[in-house]
Amino acid sequence: MLGVDPAHGGEAWRARLGVVLQSWRDHAKWQVRELLAHLGSYYAPYSEPGRRRPWDVDELIAAVGLTEHARTKVRRLSGGQRRRLDVAIGIVGRPELLFLDEPTAGFDPEARRDFHDLVHRLADQDEATIVLTTHDLDEAERLADRILILAGGQIIADGSADELSGRMSTQAEVRWSRDGQRFVHPADEPTRFVRDLFRQYGESIEDLEVRRASLEDTYMALVREFESGAGADRVARPFSVVAR
């Protein structure tokens, strides 16, 4: 990781990493701002040109949407607020490499959207490499440049969302209505299918919808393939270097 074996990483190396832990009940008596300011202060000696450490505490609190709760004690936060605090603690040192372990579990849709914006901001403006584990494939598709799918402890796929769905011959789904009746049909070649559809029924086709295979479909197909044993011989190579 970052060119160093984690077992031998020193403190300066540690300063470049961020880990978002699934917290439980630590630091219950601390106030949000107090805790972030304290933990952030350890990073001050590790500022680099173009990367001032730590993150400004009020800016960070605003970024994770906890401004109203800056003076709240940690134990009084709701589950979602607590998770956002975890994220803030993970990034307070402005890491170059950030690990997020199911960061949005238990988030409401709005908090999830805000969090995704934050992740984009970290990746774009802060040039952080982010390793995110998730069961939410929608989230992976939205956030990740590169997706690794693990099954049975092995990497069974590695690539961008497009590459993954391109590799699998997953079908698109075509939905339409005709004479007030709804139809759903899978199609390997949706363009041709729709052309045929129009040729056959013309103007009576309404509410046409073509849904391409989502990452979820690809995932299901990959896992099914893996479980049937067909994928065993094309297990992707093991982890080499993830960070850039």
Binding site: A15, L17, V19, L21, D26, E34, H38, Y42, A44, G93
Partner: protein, 282 residues
Amino acid sequence: MNAQLTAARRGVRRGWIELRQMLTNPHDIALVTISAAVFTGVMLFSRTARVPGTGFSLGTTMLASVLGMNIGFNGLASLAGVLAVEREDGTLLRAKAVPHGMTGYLIGKIVTTSGVIFISVAGTLITGLFLFRGLAVGQAGTWLTLIWVLLLGLAATLPIGAILGSLFPSARSAGLLTLVIGGLIAISGIFYPITHLPQWLQWIGQAFPLYWLGLGMRSALLPPSLAAVEIGHSWRHLATFGVLAGWTAVGLMLAPVVLRRMARRESGSTVAARRERVLRAG
């Protein structure tokens, strides 16, 4: 600025913050007040009782001994308990994720625990001055002895407390330690002169810092004539210094090794496993 130095300063700051949190938390205040009230009650009951063989108040003797007990109990049991709890709830893992965070964390704990000890010693002593007669507080020697016993007591107990806290697998088992220390208090001559115990118990009591902390505090605050009821009819300052220094040396030698091992073992999965265990146990 040097990162190690920053972390040390952050640790001191952390200690102050946590001490302030304790002093403003109703739950903590109630706990301290109630236990102080219980001890004061016991001492008051014994105010008119006499130390066997003398005309001196047993309650006053107890008060001096309890100062020593405060150091020993907080330095060993409280610190160990807090470490075990905070290992379980993930506080230590957080500290580990931050550069030099473990250093800051441990310094913080030392500052907080020392602060609690100072406050409890001062509180007990001030209450005692109002309620009990016979404390030798008018002489410079009293304060000098009190201070060196207090400081050496911190040095002897805090590293051992930290080691114990790292060794216990869970907060629950660290609770057992409180019982053990309680038993040790009973055989350390805190509430009754140790000379009235069987010989073998006296030896066990003298092996641990608690007896010597009590003896040191008695030597500071009681009149010289009271030395007559102690083992060897003396305050044994040299032996007190020797035993406490010995525990300090052992503690400082072992603490870095044990604490480093503990820190290395902390990981997300160990914290998660402990959480599972606690939640399952209800």
